[in-house]
Amino acid sequence: MEISVTVNGVKHTAEVEGRTLLVHFVREQLGMTGTNIGCDTSSCGACSVHLDGEAVKSCTILAVQADGTEITTIEGMAGADGTLHPMQQAFMENHGLQCGYCTPGMVMAATSLLKENPNPTEEDVRLGLEGNLCRCTGYHNIVQSVLAAAKA
């Protein structure tokens, strides 16, 4: 099937199998490997991207379902001049990442969270990120990062 998707501002038209997941399309067909895969049950959120501005787990969506949409992946977050997105900057300043594997998904989920709730409490952040797992940080500094980004 042919689909047409705009990813990080660039329109891509491609042939995909019906069973191809959005995450596999982005990683394997577009070669954008910043979006990671951490599970096979849509539990971990490592593959979170923005679809028409909202965070989704790209392993729960077929590439064909994304036809006609606008996708932003982690590669589309920093400015063209190399400036980190404020959420990326907040993660760096608050040591909100260690191995970095969950980080792209966390950043995508966290920016979406702040869009919905620009002034979250710590509890709002913890509940808002419960679909994204991290094994390194114990979440402490991830939560601090998101709260800092909200204030930035």
């Binding site: 951490g38 594997y101 939560v143």
Partner: protein, 803 residues
């Protein structure tokens, strides 16, 4: 013990909360994990895994799989028998008579756990390879699975018939001042406690599952193995040995690695399969592990039954410790499987002074389950859990507060360096200081007062307070001590420091970071020593072609061994640079001082040369002292004189709902002392993550098997890795007691949080329920488990009251 003074910093970089160099690449998707690598022409490996925990393999029919479009090859275990020069390696034969079943990357005659590889496929895409697995027909003859440790030791069903038993080994550590000292101590004790604890199996669950890619040069003969591993150097040696490939033709690269926690400290079947098959067919071969596959094919942690007995005098001071441990090896011995319980063997007396009256024995057995091996803390969280739970039991016996029983038993600060009952020397410690600080931070006395107020009849909630004090015991070295434990490798680490002609510094380290931030911390050490900007230091690692010498990252060893090696290499660079400076300044070497990156003649500060000038002079080599080699670089292989002994106190408060059994962790305080901190930002991060992994063992996680040996928690939907909403913020505090065994005064910190956390949490849960007669709550303390425990205790309590 030789004491080494902590050297003063030259420009104050050490101790700063410097932001990590690693982050921009990781935050933008630029970092490349193994499965991100683009490898033209690579075939994809998929492994068919046994659905039975124990079964004879009668027939493997690959024909239908081989007919599928896109499938290039398929093999049974028997088909590949000729590829292996040696069985899968176990590097830690803890006893001379240890039983170690022969283990190859694919099973040939018997599958010994659910997930044991029995056949494999090479195909043009990962999807085709996995589809083809379904076309392979295997006839199995199921055998009864051995799931429990007691069942294993009965030998009713022997998993590896050629061994004749399921017992792998018994390892003893009996230390007595005089023969019979332990018996005598128990006979004369005022107080004794005897406790039994179960360390449930855990799944390490690094967020990146394992991935492997092997790229051969069919004509040149070289092979490059990319793997999501913690141990590229060990993997290189073991690949050469296991596959009979000349070691100098093997290059191992660990690209960005998405967490390890011990699970990637191994040599795995899929690594050997990719290398062997890529050489066999002359094409690159890659493999990527699915999560549910990871749950079965990657090692598990813990899996022990602990019996601990304490003897104490009238004041509650320990007089003897006796431990009987049963350890679940799983179906085979992986790289260091048998050594894991032994790593804890020295820690069952915790941070307490005991006389030479210590009796430890561990019996290890095979089961039809996934092999166990190192998982964050590896033996030490288990040991700490047992002694810290048992100390609370002792406090109940003696009738004193848990904190008081610990204070009565702490090794006194003035006793350091302290020669322990075991003969090991503990480098430095101040346990009372850490405990006092933790108690202040959490307001221990205030919490106890509040507990008395709120834990009253009529309330459906109970407040509990938990304490644990611990040693981390890390930086596993010196090598000769490892030799005495039969460990198959050394404990040294290598580092090279190279000042480039333009005064930028390249560091080559043998450690292999996967989240710990070595690039940042090592840069800070170098910046501090050489007086350069940390931004001008670049750290190379995790590629055996670039960093040929090293022993990698595990056991909280990287800083106290690898980081110290970097500092020592800087010293050698400074020594050499000083000779050049002396020559050019026409001064004696001993008259030069090096400060803030510049050499100057004592008493004549205007006669000075910056390191930048020396670096360029060493490069041009126009004007060097006679006999001195050009270039400014130095290499060090450092074998530490001792383990490092970080310590600390963790305290927490929980609220237990008596009606639902739910445990809410209200507050958690971790006071850790890892000596001098290079980067407190990173130290705090290590503690946060470690603590949450300990909380996870205490409250959430368990690898659950059914009676047939099927793992029923193989996905992240079933295995409860806590989310942000499941855990509290972690309040960290630190005391700083420098290690006297290295010039930086540093100790490790990677495992501390995990070691301290589980006993603190369970002690708090038990404390909350003490009025009901609860003295133990098994891990994980899920609502159902707590509810059942509480109701059983209440039933016993009331029946006891009426009889």
């Amino acid at each position: 013990m030789t004491t080494i003074e902590t050297t003063h910093t030259t420009n104050g970089v050490i101790g700063q909360r410097l932001l990590r160099k690693e982050d921009p690449a990781l935050l933008t998707g630029e970092a490349r994990y193994t499965n991100d690598l683009q490898i033209p022409g690579a075939l994809h490996l998929a492994v068919l895994r046994s659905p039975y925990a124990h079964a004879k393999i009668l027939r493997v029919d690959l024909s239908r799989a081989l007919e599928m479009p896109g499938v290039r090859a398929a093999y049974s275990g028997a088909d590949l028998a000729d590829l292996w020069a040696a069985p899968m390696p176990c590097a830690w034969p803890v006893t001379d008579d240890m039983k170690n079943p022969v283990h190859y990357p694919l099973a040939t005659s018997t599958a010994c756990y659910v997930g044991d590889g029995v056949a494999c496929v090479l195909a043009e895409t990962d999807a085709i390879a996995r589809d083809a697995l379904e076309a392979i027909e295997v006839d199995y003859e199921p055998l009864r699975a051995v799931v429990g440790l007691e069942d294993a030791l009965s030998d009713e069903v022997v998993i590896h018939p050629d061994l004749g038993t399921n017992k792998s080994y018994t390892w003893n550590l009996l230390v007595e001042e005089t023969e019979g000292a332990v018996e005598a101590a128990f006979a004369s004790a005022t107080y004794t406690v005897a406790e039994r604890y179960v360390q449930q199996r855990l799944l390490p669950m690094a967020m990146e599952t394992r991935a492997v890619a092997a790229v051969p040069q069919p004509f040149g003969g070289d092979i490059t193995l990319y793997s999501s591993t913690q141990v590229p150097h060990i993997l290189k040696v073991m690949t050469a040995i296991t596959l009979g490939i000349p070691e100098h033709q093997v290059r191992v690269v660990a690209p960005a690695v998405g967490g390890g926690f011990g699970s990637k400290l191994n040599v795995y079947a899929e690594e050997l399969l990719c290398v062997a098959l890529s050489r066999k067919i002359g094409l690159p071969v890659r493999w990527n592990e699915e999560r549910s596959e990871n749950s079965m094919a990657t090692i598990h942690g813990r899996g022990q039954i602990q019996n601990i007995e304490l003897a104490a005098d009238a004041e509650g001071k320990l007089t003897a410790v006796r431990v009987r441990l049963l350890a679940d090896m799983g179906a085979y011995l992986q790289l260091v499987t048998p050594g894991i319980p032994i790593l804890g063997a020295f820690l069952y007396a915790g941070v307490y002074h005991i006389p030479k009256a210590y009796d430890f024995s561990c019996t290890a057995a095979f089961t039809n389950l996934t092999p166990t091996d190192a998982y964050r803390g590896a033996g030490r969280p288990e040991a700490t859990y047992a002694i810290e739970r048992a100390m609370d039991a002792l406090a109940r016996e003696v009738g004193v507060d848990p904190l008081e029983i610990r204070r009565r038993n702490f090794i006194p600060t003035e006793a350091y360096p302290y020669e322990a009952f075991s003969g090991l020397t503990y480098d430095s410690g101040d346990h009372d200081l850490a405990a006092t600080k933790a108690a202040e931070m959490i307001d221990y006395d205030g919490l106890r007062a509040r507990q008395a107020e709120v834990n009253v009849p009529g309330s459906t909630k109970r407040l509990g307070i938990g304490v644990s004090t611990y040693f981390e015991m890390c930086g596993l070295a010196p090598s000769r001590v490892l030799a005495s434990l039969n460990y198959g490798a050394g404990g040294w680490e290598a580092a090279t420091v190279r000042v480039l002609p333009t005064n930028k510094v390249q560091v080559v380290t043998g450690t292999s970071p996967h989240g710990q931030g070595h690039e940042t911390s090592w840069s800070m050490i170098v910046a501090d020593k050489l007086g350069v900007d940390p931004a001008d230091v670049h750290v190379l690692h995790s590629d055996t072609a670039i960093s040929p010498l090293g022993l990698d990252t595990y056991g909280s060893r990287s800083l106290p061994v690898g980081g110290v090696a970097v500092a020592m290499a800087c010293d050698k660079v400074i020594d050499k640079a000083k000779q050049i400076a002396a020559h050019q300044l026409e001064a004696a070497v001993e008259d030069l001082t090096f400060e803030d990156g510049s050499f100057s003649v004592q008493g004549s500060p205007d006669r000075a040369l910056p390191l930048a000038a020396i670096a360029f002079a060493a490069f041009t080599a126009h004007n060097l002292p006679d006999g001195l080699e050009p270039n400014l670089e130095a290499q060090v292989s450092y074998d530490p004189p001792n383990f490092s002994w970080p310590f600390g106190t963790h305290m927490c408060a929980v609220e237990v709902d008596l009606e639902t059994g739910k445990v809410d962790l209200i507050t958690y305080v971790a006071v850790d002392d890892c000596g001098v901190q290079i980067n407190p930002l990173i130290v705090d991060g290590q503690v946060h993550g470690g603590v949450v992994q300990g909380i996870a063992q205490a409250l959430y996680e368990e690898a659950v098997y059914d009676v047939d040996g099927n793992l029923t928690t193989s996905t992240l939907a079933e295995y409860l890795v806590p989310a942000a909403s499941d855990v509290p913020s972690i309040i960290t505090g630190h005391t700083v007691t420098p290690s006297p065994t290295n010039q930086l005064g540093v100790k490790g910190v990677g495992e501390a949080g995990t070691i301290g956390a589980a006993p603190a949490v369970i002690n708090a849960v038990v404390d909350a329920l003490k009025e009901f007669g609860v003295t133990d709550v098994p891990m994980p303390a899920s609502p159902l488990t707590v509810w059942n425990t509480l109701n059983n205790a209440r039933a016993n309590h009331s029946s006891g009251g009426t009889s």
